[in-house]
C-alpha cells in the first residue's frame, strides 16, 4: 500500500540515481507531489508554504516609517504539541532566526507560544513545560516567549456558571447555580457530558475562547494554528457531521475575529501542506522527540471513538488507498463557502453556549421532524398503566421564573442532547459579563521564569531600579 502514500521515500539505490529536482545537486530522498526532493529542498519547500501565507509586510523586519505604520507585531502560536504545531513552531522560529541574523538582531514580530495544558486530560507522555525550553533553545538567539495555561482557567469564577436544561421540545432553560454549595471545575463540567463526542465538541469551544483571551491579554494581533491541509479537510467534514455546517466558511478560512472590541487575524500558515508532509518534515528536522503523545491507546471499537477520531481515521485511510487528493478537494470546496442567508423573518441571534450565529430556529426545525407525541390511549389497561407511571414519577419539577430561556444553536443542542435531566449541564453562558479579568495565571511563563533567575542572581547596586511588581 505504501505506493499510494502521498509522500514516498526513496531507498538508497533509487536515491543515488535520482538528483533533487530543485537544486539538481543533492540526491533526492523523497517524492511528494510528483517531485523529487533532497532533504534541504524539502524543508525549504515546506517553509516556503508558510512564507507565502504570511507575506504581509507587517511580519517583516521594518525600518523607518514602516515601524510606525505597523507598530510592534505580536504573533500567538497555538501549540498543542502534536506534529503540525511543532512543525509550525520550527517554521516560524527559523524565520525569526533568519531575520535576526540578516538584520543585526532585529525581528519582524514577537512570537509567543501558547500551550493549553492537556497533560491530565489526555494523559500525555511528557510535560510540555519541560519540552518547551529545550525546543526554544534550538532557535537561539531568536527571542521567543512561551506560556502554558491550565484548561481550568476557562472558568474564571463560579459566578459565571449557569445550570442548563434541554427540554424535550429542544428549547433550553438556564438557572443560576449561585446558592448551591457545589463548585465546579472544568473537569466536573466535562463529567456531565453525555458522551465523548460532546466532550470533544465543548473542548473546541473552550480552546478557541482561551486562545482568543490570551491573545487579547498578551496584545497579540495575529493568532496562528498549525493545521495541515488534511486537518482542515477533516475539520470541514467533522463540522458538517456535528451539525455546525454554517460556520465552516469562517472556521477554516484565514479570517479576522473580533473579541472584546479587538480585531484578531487568525491564520493557518500550513494550509497548503499535507499531513504526510508534516510527518516527513518532523522526521527530517529531528523533532520527533518533542512531540507530545497521549498514552491512552485509541480504541479499536467504533463505538468508543469520537466523531473527530472517525473522520481522522477516514482521511488517513483515504491516503492509504490512493485518494489522498480528497483532502485538497474538500479544502478547496470549503473555501468557496460563505455565510448562510438568514431567515428574513427572524433576526440572527447568537448561541449562548458557543457564541455562533443562529440563522434558522433549530428547535423548530427539529420539532417538525422529531415528533414527540404519543398515539391516543384507548383501552382501560393502557389507562391503568399511565396512572401507575404517573404515580411512579411523582410531581414534576416546576419550571418557575428562576429559569430563563436560552438561545442554543443546533450544534450545541446536539452536543447537550442526552444530558441527564436531573443533574443538568453547567456552563458559563456567553452573554455573562466577563470583562472583569485583566490577567490570567499561567502554569509556565517564560518571562516569569526569566525574571525569577534575574531577580535571584543579578546583584543590583541601585535599589531604586528594582521596582518590579510581583
Amino acid at each position: 500500500m505504501s505506493d499510494n502514500q502521498p509522500v514516498k521515500y526513496l531507498d538508497e539505490e533509487e536515491s543515488s540515481s535520482s538528483p533533487c529536482q530543485r537544486c539538481k545537486v543533492e540526491n533526492a530522498i523523497l517524492i511528494t507531489r510528483k517531485e523529487k526532493f533532497c532533504q534541504n529542498c524539502f524543508i525549504r519547500f515546506i517553509r516556503g508554504k508558510q512564507r507565502k501565507q504570511m507575506q504581509d509586510d507587517k511580519y517583516k523586519v521594518k525600518y523607518g516609517p514602516f515601524i510606525e505604520r505597523h507598530g510592534q507585531q505580536k504573533v500567538l502560536l497555538a501549540l498543542s504539541g502534536g506534529e503540525s504545531s511543532v512543525v509550525l513552531l520550527d517554521v516560524m522560529a527559523s524565520l525569526l532566526q533568519e531575520q535576526f541574523e540578516a538584520h543585526n538582531g532585529k525581528q519582524g514580530f514577537e512570537l509567543i507560544i501558547l500551550n493549553l495544558d492537556e497533560f491530565d486530560l489526555n494523559h500525555l507522555n511528557k510535560k510540555v513545560g519541560e519540552i518547551l525550553p529545550l525546543l526554544i533553545k534550538r532557535y537561539s538567539p531568536a527571542n521567543i516567549q512561551y506560556k502554558v495555561l491550565a484548561l481550568n482557567s476557562y472558568i474564571l469564577d463560579d459566578s459565571i456558571l449557569d445550570k442548563i436544561v434541554l427540554n424535550d421540545d429542544f428549547t433550553g432553560l438556564s438557572s443560576t447555580i449561585i446558592g448551591s454549595d457545589k463548585s465546579y471545575t472544568l473537569f466536573d463540567i466535562l463529567e456531565l457530558c453525555p458522551n465523548k463526542s460532546s466532550v470533544e465538541d465543548l473542548l473546541t469551544i473552550i480552546y478557541n475562547e482561551l486562545i482568543l483571551r490570551t491573545a487579547y491579554l498578551e496584545k497579540c494581533q495575529t493568532i496562528i494554528y498549525g493545521h495541515s491541509m488534511t486537518r482542515i479537510a477533516n475539520e470541514i467534514i467533522a463540522l458538517t457531521v456535528k451539525g455546525r455546517g454554517s460556520i465552516i466558511y469562517e472556521a477554516i478560512s484565514d479570517h479576522s475575529k473580533t473579541y472584546k472590541d479587538q480585531q484578531f487575524q487568525i491564520l493557518f500558515p500550513l494550509r497548503d501542506v499535507l499531513y504526510a508532509e508534516i510527518i516527513s518534515y518532523c522526521k527530517l528536522t529531528n523533532m520527533d522527540e518533542f512531540i507530545l503523545q497521549s498514552t491512552i491507546p485509541k480504541s479499536k471499537i467504533n463505538k468508543n471513538l469520537t466523531i473527530r477520531d472517525l473522520t481522522t481515521r477516514y482521511f488517513s485511510q483515504l491516503d492509504a488507498t490512493g485518494y489522498a487528493s480528497t483532502a485538497s478537494t474538500v479544502v478547496k470546496t470549503g473555501e468557496k463557502l460563505g455565510a448562510p442567508k438568514s431567515d428574513s423573518t427572524s433576526l440572527v441571534t447568537h448561541c449562548q453556549v458557543c457564541g455562533v450565529e443562529i440563522y434558522q430556529d433549530p428547535g423548530n426545525w427539529l420539532r417538525n421532524i422529531t415528533v414527540n407525541k404519543a398515539a391516543p390511549i384507548e383501552t382501560e389497561e393502557e389507562k391503568e398503566y399511565l396512572e401507575s407511571y404517573k404515580a411512579s414519577i411523582g410531581e414534576p419539577e416546576i419550571i418557575d421564573d428562576r429559569y430563563k430561556s436560552v438561545h442554543i444553536c443546533y450544534g450545541c443542542i446536539v452536543t447537550l442532547g442526552g444530558v441527564n435531566s436531573v443533574s443538568g449541564f453547567v456552563w458559563p453562558l456567553k452573554d455573562k459579563n466577563t470583562d472583569h479579568f485583566e490577567s490570567q495565571p499561567y502554569l509556565v511563563d517564560s518571562e516569569v521564569e526569566k525574571q525569577k533567575i534575574l531577580d535571584e542572581f543579578i546583584l543590583t547596586n541601585d535599589e531604586d531600579e528594582d521596582d518590579d511588581n510581583e
Binding site: 458538517t240 456535528k242 465552516i248
Partner: protein
C-alpha cells in the same frame, strides 16, 4: 397479541416513553427512544406529514407518480402516501411508475413486487424500460462499458426515463423514496468530491427547473432508513430486499462506511449532516485579479485570436456561443432528444452515442453471457475467430 395468556403486569420502565401506557417494543433509531408500535407509527407518519405540509409539496387534485422500484423505500413511500392521502385529505391521485433497467436476476424480480403492490394499494402502474427507450438494457451497457461506470449510466438514464414516464402519463410530479441516509451521504459526497455546483441544492426537498415540466420531491428527506425498515417490518409490507447486482462505485462506498460508523457513535448525525447541508451556501464569487507583469503586449495581440476560438464537442459538433449566459443554465434542451440539458447534447445522448460506437458488431446467437456477466462477455469479445 397475547390474548390467550394471562397478561403479565408490566414494569413502569418497560413502558413506551411517549404514551407510558403500552409496552415498548422497539428502540427508535433516530433518538434511541423506547416506543410502542402505535406511538412509532404515529411519530413516523406525523413527521412525514409535517415534511410534506411544511414544504407545500402537494396541492389538492395533483396527480403524483411514485417512483417505485419494489425496494423498501419506495414500497413504504407508496403505502404511507396512500395512508396520509386518506387521513389528511390531500386529494391526490397516486400512480406507480417503475423503470425496468434490464438487469436480469434483480429488476425482473423486484418488478414482480411492484406488480403485487399495484394490487395491494389499488394504484395504476406504468413500467418504462430502458430497452424501449434507449434500445439498451443495463446488462448490455455493462457488458459494453464495463462494470465500473455502471452507476453513472444507470443514474443518468433513469432520471430521464422517470421524466419521460411521467410525461407519458400526463403527470408533472414524481416522488422518490430517497431517505435521510441518502441525503446525508449526498452532502458528504458533494464535499468530498468538490461538487460545488450541487453543494447548495443537495438538500432541497423539491427540485424543479424551468425547462422541465416535471417536479421531483423527496418526502422521506428526514426519514431514517432504519425506521423505514422497521415500519415495513411491523406493517408487514411486501418488498424486495436484494441489492443491485452492480455494486456502487468504490469511493461512494468509503463515504457510506464512514456514515455508518458515525451513526453508531451518534445516531442523530444523519439529521445533523442534513442540517449542515441546508446551511452550506456558496460565497459570492470574487473576481480574481491577476496583475500581469510579463508579456503584456503579447497577450494584447492574442486577444483578437481568442475571440474567434471555438469549442468542439466530443461528437465533433461545434459549440454555439450563447448570447446570454443564463440561457445555457436553465431551460436549454438537447438537440438530439429534446430533453432538458445544460449542454447542446444531453448527458444521456452523450453516453448513448459513446456506447453505440462500442456496440459489438457481431452478436453471437443465443448469447446468454450478456445477461449481467460483464466479465465473461469481455473475454468472449476478445476471442478471435
Amino acid at each position: 397479541m397475547t390474548d390467550g395468556q394471562k397478561p403479565k403486569i408490566l414494569k413502569v420502565s418497560a413502558l413506551c416513553q411517549l404514551c407510558h401506557a403500552r409496552k415498548a417494543v422497539m428502540k427508535r433509531p433516530k433518538n434511541s427512544q423506547k416506543l410502542c408500535k402505535e406511538c412509532f407509527y404515529n411519530v413516523f407518519e406525523t413527521e412525514i406529514h409535517n415534511t410534506i405540509t411544511n414544504a407545500h409539496l402537494f396541492a389538492p387534485g395533483d396527480k403524483v407518480a411514485i417512483g417505485a422500484s419494489g425496494g423498501k423505500d419506495s414500497t413504504v413511500l407508496a403505502s404511507i402516501l396512500k395512508t396520509l392521502n386518506e387521513r389528511y385529505n390531500y386529494g391526490l391521485e397516486l400512480v406507480l411508475l417503475s423503470i425496468d433497467e434490464g438487469i436480469k436476476g434483480y429488476r425482473d424480480d423486484s418488478l414482480a413486487t411492484v406488480k403485487r403492490n399495484q394490487v395491494q394499494y389499488k394504484m395504476p402502474l406504468e413500467i418504462i424500460s430502458y430497452k424501449d427507450l434507449y434500445d439498451w438494457t443495463m446488462d448490455e451497457i455493462v457488458s459494453c462499458a464495463g462494470i465500473r461506470s455502471s452507476c453513472t449510466y444507470c443514474g443518468v438514464l433513469r432520471r430521464q426515463a422517470l421524466d419521460r414516464g411521467a410525461a407519458k402519463l400526463g403527470i408533472n410530479h414524481v416522488v422518490t423514496g430517497h431517505n435521510a441516509d441518502d441525503m446525508a451521504e449526498t452532502v458528504l459526497m458533494n464535499l468530498l468530491r468538490g461538487d460545488v455546483a450541487r453543494l447548495e441544492k443537495s438538500c432541497t426537498i423539491l427540485t424543479q427547473s424551468s425547462g422541465s415540466p416535471i417536479k421531483r420531491s423527496k418526502p422521506f428527506k428526514y426519514t431514517y432508513q432504519k425506521e423505514i425498515v422497521l415500519y415495513a417490518h411491523y406493517k408487514k409490507l411486501d418488498y424486495f430486499s436484494t441489492e443491485c447486482t452492480y455494486a456502487p462505485e468504490a469511493f461512494r462506498g468509503t463515504a457510506r462506511e464512514l456514515l455508518k460508523s458515525l451513526e453508531a457513535v451518534r445516531p442523530s448525525c444523519i439529521m445533523d449532516i442534513i442540517y449542515s447541508g441546508e446551511h452550506l451556501v456558496l460565497a459570492p464569487k470574487k473576481k480574481k485579479v491577476t496583475t500581469q507583469y510579463k508579456n503584456k503586449k503579447k497577450i494584447m495581440e492574442h486577444q483578437d485570436d481568442q475571440s474567434q476560438e471555438v469549442e468542439i464537442n466530443a461528437d465533433g459538433s461545434v459549440v454555439l456561443k450563447a448570447k446570454k449566459k443564463e440561457e445555457l443554465k436553465d431551460g436549454n434542451t438537447c438537440e438530439k432528444c429534446g430533453y432538458l440539458s445544460s449542454n447542446k447534447i444531453c448527458k444521456a445522448c452523450m453516453l448513448l452515442a459513446g456506447l453505440e460506437m462500442n456496440r459489438p458488431k457481431v452478436n453471437i446467437d443465443n448469447n446468454v453471457a450478456v445477461d449481467g456477466a460483464a466479465k465473461l462477455t469481455k473475454t468472449l469479445e476478445q476471442l478471435s475467430f
